[in-house]
Symmetry: C2
Subunit: 232 residues, 2 copies
Amino acid sequence: MTGERASFRTIRDELSRRIAERVWLPGTLIPGEETLAEEFGAARATVNRALQELARAGILERRRRAGTRVALHPVREARFIIPRIRQEIEGRGSDYQYRLLSCEEAKAPEVICARLSLQPGSRLLHVRCLHLADRVPYQFEDRWINPKVVPDALQADFSQVGPNEWLVGHAPFSTAEFTFMAAAASAEEAGLLQIREGDPVFVGERITWMRADPITLAHLVHPSSHRMVTQL
Amino acid sequence: MTGERASFRTIRDELSRRIAERVWLPGTLIPGEETLAEEFGAARATVNRALQELARAGILERRRRAGTRVALHPVREARFIIPRIRQEIEGRGSDYQYRLLSCEEAKAPEVICARLSLQPGSRLLHVRCLHLADRVPYQFEDRWINPKVVPDALQADFSQVGPNEWLVGHAPFSTAEFTFMAAAASAEEAGLLQIREGDPVFVGERITWMRADPITLAHLVHPSSHRMVTQL
DNA sequence: GGACTACATATGTATAGACATAACGGCATA
DNA sequence: TATGCCGTTATGTCTATACATATGTAGTCC
């Protein structure tokens, strides 16, 4: 005899059902926590937890004093797992291979410095490498690392371990920004990914910071067969 | 004299800081809730809330009896807001325009039926339209709607209101799947988006279900200048 | 040694009670 | 009419306590 207990999950799901089945239409002011607590025979804190989860998911809108209403414009959010490339490839049952293409300290181009809010002409560590799945090019990584923040990176050996994997273990970040876009493959990218120049590529760009200091900018290029999928 | 109170936010941020600054290295078993509660002068429930948030973000791993440890592989997740196109455009301060291109019931191609797990040859409502920002093509939407689930759609007038906006108000979904990819513009897409055939485009695909029934499949094509950005 | 069991323990969840905080709406004032 | 103050009220958060649940560990038995 279990499951009769009104847990916050039960409440959350039941409220979610009422919204999905349009018992409560968008914009409706739903009963207050106290009332719901009574209805479900639970404490207000329990109802609160259920409501907060739904609000976080974007299907409820809550305001003090004003009460809780069904979101008019369910701005729902999708969550993408940002896996490490090795795990992503091995997780699909493929063999992962890695190839370091180049690694050198160099004066970073204007664009890069600007993206990282660094002085133009800053010297950064430039790493280029290729990730393969079952020997087929999967991602070309073009990365700039700020040695001011991660001095160890200058001594690191990226011939076996990719810079991302290395950074995860040596330089945690406090904030990150991800950008995704479509682009046309440059001649270099095309050669490395075994596609034709100008073919569409799926590009991810990742910038990470430690506090206000930029750690790294990664430009990640996939052939157009790449899919980024998420369930909601 | 406020702020001295140890709220779950304070605790969350302080723990987060310790992890970011490598006071607690990945893999470390951190003190138990009871201990932390004592340290912060808070109740265990408060510490619990802070820890649960960090666990949800993927930077802590918790297991009953085993305790809480700093995630070895911070599989962090990025959250993308899935806005409605009008809001997305107006939110950037641009003017939104909408143009319906076609709207008819038709036998859906194999691929579409397969993606929606429907019998091959099912008759679906096919809507094509264009969204513009400041009169510049922003997104071409090619959508199939399942009239079995949303019969009202057959009578709906999509000449003024886009099908997405209409669906939000008439057919809430229980689950959704989002896919993003890069592709080459077809001749039709190129014409509508005012780019050249074969130019890279950023494509989003969205399928929604109500329970087990597929509601709609939307194919959303952006010119390659489109950026999808998220902060973490 | 290996399998099984009992126990200890950290987290998971629920509860009642309390106070904090924001903001709706009405009332008073300029 | 417009403005500003303020009480009421729904949500936000914290506390203390209790019990549930999973699971590592130690101890037992063969």
